[in-house]
Amino acid sequence: MSSSSEPLLRLENLRTHFKMEGGIAKAVDGVNYSIFPKKTLAVVGESGCGKSVTAMSIMGLIPCPPGIKAGGKIWYRDQDLRTYSDDQLRKIRGNEIAMIFQEPMTSLNPVYTVGDQIGEAVRLHQGMSRKDAHDKAIEMLAKVGIPSPEKRVDEYPHQMSGGMRQRVMIAMALSCDPEVLIADEPTTALDVTIQAQILDLMTELQDTTGASILFITHDLGVVAEVSDHVAVMYAGKVVEYADAKTLYESPQHPYTVGLFRSIPDLYVRQKQLQTIPGVVPSPLDFPSGCRFRNRCPLADGRCGQEEPLLRNVGEGHTVACHAVEEGRAADVDFSTVSEV
């Protein structure tokens, strides 16, 4: 890897499956990525690619059953979190690894004041008194830019706007000064002007607290703005990993290439958008070999039989694609794929 320091959190071949009526859904099926101290890793992919399930697995928030811990390791400070008991995990969760969820409306408890909810973590993990926790909540609200925090601390979530609620979520997540902050689509439900405020706030707080951020999103614009490294996920696997600049300037995997081409450009007006034909396969029934092959213009016989592994194509840039490995991925033309 390109970074000089050791990763703070490292996923090794992580697998999380779900038992479903129609069979086993392999939502996360061999994910490898690392999060470095004080850096932001963005995980991008379309719905159902397993990016959120990966995050929930790190937090130990997947109920089993229906979830199945199908293998792999989550290395955090030389410890495998997968082997932790619920009690051990509870000490880490919200304390050393904290999470911000997408929906600020549904992930706050409507019957407690925001102050109670922010204070809960510090009372639990740091044994603060109710009074101190209340003061801490005010301090955190001020930190995330909520005006008159000493008044808002006693308000309920419904009294706040979406952007405010997301700030409360961030205040809650940061209250214990976590090492790793997992942000699962934290700005997706927000308007662009509010999104801009929240992204700036997160970058600013990262500078002051030194937390590492795992940023999960489907918005490639947001990724470019916040991330140091990017992992692209498709059908339960990471298909490409690189630092942000490299990935945006020379994406290698045909899926990544297709993804970039399908975003309308704000500055250059294209005549027709290029699209990736077909749809994401169902996790109950992934194609054999490479999971992208049905939609890929470069697929050949080997892609149907052998699963591609992540291989180095440059410094800190890995890609899982046979065509890239064989050097025949120079030109990706999706119009040659017949729609299925």
Binding site: V192, Q197, D200, A224, L266, V279
Partner: protein, 331 residues
Amino acid sequence: MSESLLQVNDLKTWFPMKKGLMSRVVGHVKAVDGVSFEIGAGETLGLVGESGCGKTTVGRTLLRLIPATGGTVRFDGKNVFDLKGDPLRALRRDMQIIFQDPYSSLNPRMDVRSIIGEALQVHGIAKGQELEDRVAALMTRVGLLAEHMRRYPHEFSGGQRQRIGIARALALEPKFIVCDEAVSALDVSVQAQILNLLEDLQQEFGISYLFISHDLSVVRHISDRVAVMYLGRIVELADVDELFDNPSHPYTRALLSAIPVPRPGAKKDRVQLDGDVPNPIDPPTGCHFHPRCPMVKAGEGVPECSTGACPETVTVGPNHFAACHLIQPGT
């Protein structure tokens, strides 16, 4: 510009706020408050703004899905709000809508044939085998397999469901379709497929679109002209390239600068807007935007911004209009 198909003049949609035992009306939420624009045949007007600005209400009021409080809408020379009975039914055939959420806008108990064919049946256009043939043709046109006609919505993916919604809107061969956040719920690769489909259909049938969206890159891609709304009013309206390259209203400039660009390191000078969109129950006096306006904050405002009347719409350039006290009319 081509002859306008739709002319909206000073459209107002107010929702009454009721209170107490007798449901006394204590005030109004002015969701749409004096909106005017035109759409030509085969043209796409993008309507952008943040949540709560009234863009969806505009679309629904035009189609008479919500009663208007004031103003006029003329479609194809007819006053939409005056029509009743048969002429209204005839008009409804020409004006259709595609909704945002492909999950909740299709009846889960109807199969695709009934969903797409319902309007044909209701309007007495086709029945029996002919109906089936028409539905099959529509499904093929939007990229669905006609043999899936007997399936139910839950058997389709999000993108396919949106195609069903499009086929339903197309069934009556409308002249005008309101696309209300029609691609917002879709993943980018699928979103691109649907945008291309909408453009192809426009080419083929000459349909006009009112394309309502909060996603400015999508709006830039699909629109001929764009209107920007803030708190119930249009603050700027211009040809798409002019609006994006040369925005004049401070709100439009802030909105454009807030969009994250998919290029790392491409940090632009962001015009940061503080706070949220104000509550439309109690909008700010003067210009609705003044409490968040970066120009007012920078001390460049005039007294009218906060205390005067709502700014009038002025012509800034050819086909370019804006409503701001700080903008001088151009030519």
